[in-house]
C-alpha cells in the first residue's frame, strides 16, 4: 500500500516534470521564433530602405518626387494645356479635398481569381480595375464629363487635319515600378535600376497588340484594323497613323497604355526574345502572375484565392492617392461581401440585388445597412441586359416571332420584383445612360394576346393540336420549342427563365431553361450553339455598333454578332457613324439605329442596371465615375 502510493507519487511527479519541460520548450521556441521574425522584419525594412535609396540616388536629384499631392507640374505641361490644338484639357474637378488624411490600408474585394496581370492579355473587368491603379494610360475622360479628355501619361495630343495621324507627347517624370521579383540571389539583377516610361514602351504595347501570336489581345486588336503605322519618333513622342479616320480611334488612342519593354521583351535570365517568338512568349510571359505599371500603386503581392496587395507609389507625379496600401480580398462567394461589410473587414463593396433585398429591403431596423452605420450610394454604368435570339434558327429568323417573344417577356415584373427595381427598362442597343439613347421609344409591353397574334401572322400555329405551335419549313415540320441558356450560378437568371417559360407556355411555345456555368456558356455562345441566351453587354461611353451588329461580324468565328444579325440598312448606319465626327449628326444616326433595332428586335432588350454600394463611415470622399472602373478608390481617404 505504502509502496504503491510512493510509486504513483514518483510517477506523477515525473509526469508533472515532463509537462513543465514541455511548457518551457514551447515558450522557448516561441520566443526564439518571435526574435527571428523581428530580425527578419528588420532586415526586410533595411533591405527595402537600401533599395529605395538606390532608386532615389540613381534617378538623381531632379527625379520624381510625388507624395499625396503629387509633384509640381512641369512648365511644359502647363504651356501645352493652354494650346487650343491640344485634345487634352485641364479637369478642374476636385479630386482629393485639401484636408484629406494620408495613410492607412484600404480593404476592397475582388470577385474572382485572376489568371494573371498582363494588362494586354487579361481583359476581365476585375483585372482592368487593378490596372487602373497600377498602370497609367495616355489620357482619360474628365471625371464628370465623358466628352472631354484629361492628360495622364501624355500632356499633348494632336490630331492632324485629315484626322488620320495622332501625335502624342509624353511626360518625362513617369518611372516604372520596381518589378515584383525575388531579388535575393542576384538572378534578377539585370532588372535593377530605374526605368523611365518612354514612347518606346508605348510602341512596344502597340507592337504586341498587333502581333497575331498574342491571342489575348484579339478583342482590342479588332479596333485597330485600320492602323497604318506607329512609331516612337523620339523618347517622348509617339505617332500613330490610321488608313481611314474613324471616330472610335480617338477613344482607342486615349486608352493606349505603355507596357515595359525592359521586362516583357526578355526571358527570365535577361535574354531578349527573338522577334519570331516574342508574341508567343509575351502571351504566357514568366512575369504574368504579377503586375507592373507606372501608376499610383505598386503591385506587391498576389496570393491566389486570398488577396492582391497594392502599395502606394510615393513617386507618382500626379499624386492624389491617399491610402498607403490597398488590399483586395479575393471573395468568390457572392454572399461574402455583405458579411465582411458588417464586420468591418471591407471598407467598400457593391452588393448583389439578392443581398440588397435581404439586407436593406427586408433587413432588421438595426442592421448596419439601415441604421446609418454604413453609408450607401449607387452608380449607373454602361450596360444593358438582354435576351438574344439566334436568328439562324428557324424559330427566330422572322422579326415578328422575335417581337412576339419580346411581348411575352414580363420585363417590368422581373425588373421590379426580381431585380428589385435596381435599373431602368432599356429599349435598344445602348445603355439608358448613353447620351445618344433615344428616349422617345416605349418598351415592348407585356401582352400575350399580341404575342399570339404576331406568331400566327408569322405562320406559327398549332396545326397538330399538341399544344405547341409549329410551322412547315421546306417540307419539314418545326416545333416552336427552344432552349434558353442562362448563367447557372445566379438564381436571378434562372428566375428569369422560370417565369418566361410559364408565359411562353401560355402562348404555345415550349422553352427549356438550360443553366450553364460560365466557361461552358461562353463556349456555347461563341460557337453559336444556342437558340436563345440571356446575357449583358458592358461598353464604354462612345457608341460603336460594329462589333455587335455589323453583318461582317456575323460570320466571324468568336465574333460578337452571335445572333447572326444581318441588315443592310443597319450596316449603312454603322459605317456612317464610324466616320462621322459631328456630335449632332452622330446623335441622329444613333437614334435611327436605335429605332431600327427596336423594330427588328434581334434581342429582347431588358434593362440597364445600377449598382448599390455600401461603405464604412471612416471612408471619405467616396464618389463613383460613370466609366469603368466605377469604384475608383484613388480619391478615397481613411479617417479624419
Amino acid at each position: 500500500m505504502q509502496r504503491g502510493f510512493l510509486r504513483s507519487l514518483i510517477g506523477f511527479s515525473i509526469l508533472v516534470g515532463f509537462f513543465l519541460l514541455t511548457l518551457l520548450n514551447v515558450w522557448q521556441t516561441n520566443s526564439a521564433e518571435r526574435d527571428l521574425k523581428e530580425m527578419l522584419q528588420r532586415m526586410d525594412t533595411l533591405e527595402k530602405a537600401l533599395e529605395n535609396g538606390n532608386f532615389a540616388s540613381e534617378s538623381g536629384p531632379s527625379g520624381p518626387s510625388g507624395g499625396i499631392w503629387g509633384a509640381a507640374e512641369p512648365d511644359y505641361v502647363t504651356t501645352a494645356l493652354s494650346d487650343p490644338n491640344n485634345q487634352f484639357s485641364r479637369d478642374n474637378t476636385n479630386w482629393l479635398p485639401s484636408g484629406a488624411k494620408q495613410g492607412g490600408t484600404l480593404n476592397l474585394k475582388f470577385g474572382s481569381d485572376p489568371k494573371g496581370f498582363n494588362w494586354l492579355t487579361e481583359n476581365g473587368a476585375d483585372v482592368s480595375e487593378i490596372q487602373a491603379y497600377v498602370n497609367i494610360s495616355v489620357g482619360a475622360y474628365h471625371l464628370k464629363d465623358v466628352t472631354k479628355y484629361r492628360p495622364v501619361l501624355a500632356y499633348h495630343w494632336n490630331i492632324s487635319d485629315d484626322k488620320r495621324t495622332h501625335t502624342i507627347k509624353l511626360r518625362k517624370d513617369f518611372y516604372w515600378h520596381k518589378p515584383n521579383v525575388n531579388w535575393a540571389g542576384g538572378k534578377f539583377d539585370w532588372l535593377k535600376g530605374t526605368h523611365q516610361v518612354t514612347a518606346r514602351d508605348l510602341e512596344f504595347m502597340v507592337e504586341m497588340m498587333m502581333n497575331d501570336q498574342v491571342a489575348g489581345a484579339a478583342p482590342l486588336r479588332s479596333y485597330f484594323d485600320e492602323l497604318e503605322s506607329f512609331e516612337a519618333i523620339d523618347d517622348f513622342t509617339f505617332r500613330i497613323t490610321f488608313k481611314k479616320p474613324k471616330y472610335m480611334q480617338k477613344v482607342m488612342v486615349l486608352g493606349l497604355y505603355p507596357m515595359p519593354e525592359f521586362l516583357y521583351a526578355y526571358d527570365e535570365v535577361g535574354e531578349r526574345y527573338e522577334p519570331e517568338v516574342i508574341g508567343k512568349r509575351f502571351e504566357d510571359h514568366w512575369y504574368n502572375p504579377n503586375g507592373i505599371g507606372a501608376g499610383p500603386y505598386t503591385f506587391t503581392r498576389f496570393e491566389p484565392g486570398v488577396a492582391i496587395e497594392l502599395e502606394r507609389n510615393s513617386k507618382y507625379p500626379l499624386g492624389g492617392n491617399a491610402p498607403e496600401r490597398i488590399v483586395y480580398s479575393i471573395l468568390k462567394d457572392q454572399n461574402q461581401p455583405p458579411r465582411k461589410l458588417r464586420t468591418g473587414e471591407l471598407h467598400l463593396s457593391a452588393i448583389q440585388p439578392g443581398q440588397y433585398r435581404a439586407e436593406v429591403l427586408e433587413g432588421d431596423a438595426d442592421s448596419p445597412f439601415k441604421n446609418g452605420k454604413l453609408n450607401a450610394g449607387e452608380y449607373w454604368s454602361y450596360n444593358y441586359f438582354y435576351v438574344a435570339w439566334n436568328a439562324d434558327k428557324p424559330q427566330f429568323s422572322d422579326k415578328r416571332a422575335r417581337q412576339a417573344m419580346s411581348h411575352a417577356f414580363n420585363a417590368d415584373l422581373l425588373l421590379n420584383d426580381v431585380f428589385l427595381g435596381l435599373g431602368e427598362r432599356c429599349t435598344g442597343p445602348m445603355p439608358t445612360v448613353q447620351p445618344y439613347y433615344d428616349r422617345s421609344l416605349d418598351p415592348y409591353a407585356f401582352d400575350l394576346e399580341k404575342a399570339k397574334a404576331l406568331l400566327e401572322e408569322a405562320g406559327w400555329s398549332d396545326t397538330d393540336g399538341d399544344g405547341i405551335r409549329d410551322k412547315t419549313i421546306d417540307g419539314e415540320k418545326v416545333q416552336f420549342s427552344f432552349k434558353l441558356v442562362v448563367y447557372g450560378s445566379s438564381n436571378e437568371y434562372k428566375t428569369v427563365g422560370n417565369i418566361f417559360k410559364e408565359d411562353l407556355a401560355k402562348i404555345g411555345v415550349r422553352m427549356d431553361v438550360a443553366p450553364m456555368e460560365w466557361a461552358n456558356l461562353l463556349k456555347k455562345v461563341d460557337a453559336r450553339e444556342f437558340d436563345a441566351v440571356t446575357l449583358a453587354w458592358v461598353s464604354g461611353p462612345p457608341v460603336d455598333f460594329r462589333q455587335i451588329w455589323h453583318s461582317s461580324q456575323a460570320d466571324l468565328p468568336k465574333g460578337s454578332n452571335r445572333v447572326g444579325f444581318r441588315n443592310a440598312e443597319a450596316d449603312k448606319i454603322i459605317e456612317a457613324l464610324e466616320t462621322e465626327f459631328d456630335e449632332a449628326k452622330r446623335k441622329k444616326l444613333a437614334h435611327a439605329f436605335h429605332q431600327l433595332l427596336y423594330e427588328e428586335q434581334p434581342y429582347t432588350f431588358f434593362y440597364t442596371r445600377k449598382t448599390k454600394v455600401f461603405w464604412q463611415q471612416e471612408l471619405n470622399n467616396v464618389w463613383f465615375q460613370l466609366v469603368r472602373p466605377h469604384i475608383n478608390p484613388r480619391p478615397f481617404y481613411l479617417g479624419g
Binding site: Q334, N335, G354, Q355, R357, A358, E359, E362, D417, V418, D462, G465, D466, G467, I468, K483, G488, S489, S490, N491, E492, K494, T495, G497, N498, I499, K501, E502, D503, A505, K506, G508, R510, D512, V513, A514, P515, M516, E517, A519, N520, K524
Partner: protein
C-alpha cells in the same frame, strides 16, 4: 430458399428467413414506424396531383363537361418530367393493381394451398405486374401527348368578372383539386412569406413552395431508388463474380474497385454536367449509380467468400447446377442481407447528393427538387426557403437511415430478441 441461420426451437418450421427478419424488424418500433413514414411519403408522392394541380377534375364552360385533370396526367406540356409521368401512371394504376392483388390473395387463400407454392405464385404474378407496368410506362413516354397550356383558373376568374360586369350570366362550373395550381405556376408575389394561402410562402420565381415540396418528394424518392438500383445491380454482379471465382478475376475486379473509389464522385458529376447541354435528373441518377457501386461490390464479395465453402454450395455444385445458377440462385440470396442495409443508407446518400447538385445550381430546372428551393433561399436570404426544404431533406434522410439501421439489426442473428 435455404436457411443459413441457427434454427431456433421455438420457430415454427415453415418460417422463411424473410419471415424471421420481418418479425425482428417489427420489434424495433422506431424503425417500423419509420418504414410507415416512408410509405406515407411514397403515397404522398403518388397522389400529389390529386392534392395540387391547376387542371380541374370537371370543367364546364357552357359547352359540355370536360375532364382536363385526367388528360393532364400524361400531358408532356404540363408534366414535363418523366418522373412525374411515372408517378402519374402509378396513380392511375394504383387502384386496379391493389384490387387485383387483394383479389388474388383471397382466391389463393380460398383454394387452401400451402404456403410455399403460394409464395412462388405471388412472386411470379408480381413480376408480371411490374413488367406490365414498365411496358406501359415506356409506351406512355414514347408517345408524347400534349395539349394547349390553358390557364383554367384565370379563365374562371375572367368569367366571374364578366358576370360581375353583367357581360355574361352563367358561371363556369368547375371542380379543382384542393390546391388549384401546379408547382410550376408563376405569378404570385416574389418571396412572399408563409401565409394562409401559401403555407410555406412563395419562391423567387413566384411559385408556391408547398406545392413544389410536395412534388419534390417524387424527385427525391425516384433519384434515391433508381440511382441505388443501378449501383446495387452493378455491385452485386461484380461482387459475386469476384467472390465466387476469386483468383485473377478477383484481383482485376478489386483493382477496378480501387480505381473507381479513388475518383471523387462529386467532381465526376460536376465535369459531366459541364459537358451536357441540359442536365436531366436521369443523368444525375446514372452518374450516381456509376460511381457508387464499389461499396456494394465489396460487401457481396466478402459474403461470397464466407459462403463459398459451405455445404449447401458444395452440394449444389455436386448436383451439377450450372455456375450461374449456383451464384445467383444459391449463394446470392444468402448474401443479400448486408446489401439491403447498404442500399437503404445509399438512398439517403443519393438524395443528399442530388440536393447538393441542385444547390450548386447544376440540377434539372424542370424538376422541383428540394435542393433548388434551398439554393434560392441561400442566395436570396429568405428563411422560409431554407427551413421547409431543409426539413424535408432531413426528414426523408432520417427515416431512411432509421429503416436501414432497423434492417441491419434485424438481419444480425446476434441481435435477435
Amino acid at each position: 430458399m435455404s436457411q443459413p441461420i441457427i434454427p431456433d426451437v421455438n420457430e415454427p418450421e415453415d418460417q422463411t428467413f424473410g419471415d424471421i427478419v420481418w418479425i425482428q424488424f417489427k420489434k424495433n418500433r422506431v424503425a417500423y414506424w419509420s418504414l410507415w413514414g416512408l410509405a406515407g411519403l411514397f403515397i404522398l408522392a403518388i397522389v400529389a396531383p390529386v392534392i395540387a394541380s391547376g387542371r380541374p377534375f370537371i370543367w364546364n364552360a357552357g359547352d359540355g363537361a370536360q375532364y382536363p385533370w385526367f388528360s393532364s396526367l400524361f400531358d408532356r406540356n404540363y408534366f414535363e418530367n418523366p418522373v412525374d409521368v411515372f408517378f402519374n401512371l402509378l396513380l392511375v394504376l394504383a387502384l386496379p393493381i391493389v384490387a387485383l392483388v387483394i383479389f388474388r390473395l383471397k382466391q389463393i387463400q380460398k383454394l387452401g394451398l400451402d404456403k410455399r407454392p403460394r409464395r412462388a405464385k405471388i412472386q411470379r404474378e408480381s413480376r408480371f405486374l411490374v413488367l406490365g407496368f414498365l411496358v406501359l410506362l415506356i409506351g406512355v413516354l414514347a408517345t408524347p401527348y400534349g395539349e394547349p397550356y390553358t390557364q383554367y383558373e384565370d379563365l374562371r376568374e375572367a368569367r366571374l368578372q364578366e358576370i360581375e360586369a353583367g357581360a355574361s350570366t352563367d358561371p363556369i362550373q368547375a371542380v379543382f383539386p384542393p390546391v388549384p395550381y401546379m408547382f410550376r405556376k408563376t405569378g404570385f408575389k416574389t418571396l412572399e412569406k408563409p401565409s394562409l394561402k401559401h403555407w410555406l410562402g412563395v419562391d423567387e420565381s413566384t411559385r408556391d413552395v408547398a406545392v413544389r415540396l410536395l412534388y419534390g418528394t417524387r424527385i427525391s424518392l425516384t433519384i434515391g431508388v433508381i440511382a441505388v438500383g443501378i449501383y446495387v445491380t452493378i455491385g452485386i454482379i461484380l461482387g459475386s463474380l469476384a467472390g465466387f471465382f476469386s483468383g485473377k478475376v478477383d484481383i482485376v475486379i478489386q483493382r477496378l474497385i480501387e480505381i473507381v473509389m479513388s475518383i471523387p464522385s462529386l467532381i465526376i458529376i460536376l465535369v459531366l454536367v459541364a459537358f451536357l447541354e441540359k442536365t436531366s435528373i436521369f443523368h444525375i441518377m446514372l452518374v450516381i449509380g456509376l460511381v457508387r457501386w464499389t461499396g456494394v461490390a465489396r460487401l457481396v464479395r466478402g459474403e461470397f467468400y464466407r459462403l463459398r465453402g459451405q455445404d449447401f454450395v458444395t452440394s449444389a455444385v455436386a448436383l451439377g447446377f450450372p455456375t450461374w445458377k449456383v451464384i445467383f440462385h444459391h449463394i446470392l440470396p444468402n448474401a443479400m442481407g448486408p446489401v439491403l442495409v447498404a442500399a437503404t443508407f445509399g438512398v439517403a446518400g443519393a438524395i443528399l447528393l442530388e440536393s447538393t447538385l441542385s444547390f450548386l445550381g447544376l440540377g434539372d430546372l424542370s424538376a422541383p427538387s428540394w435542393g433548388q428551393t434551398l439554393s434560392e433561399g441561400y442566395s436570396s436570404g429568405a428563411w422560409h426557403l431554407i427551413i421547409a426544404p431543409g426539413f424535408a431533406i432531413f426528414l426523408t434522410v432520417s427515416l431512411l437511415n432509421l429503416v436501414g439501421e432497423g434492417l441491419r439489426d434485424a438481419l444480425d442473428p446476434k441481435m435477435r430478441k
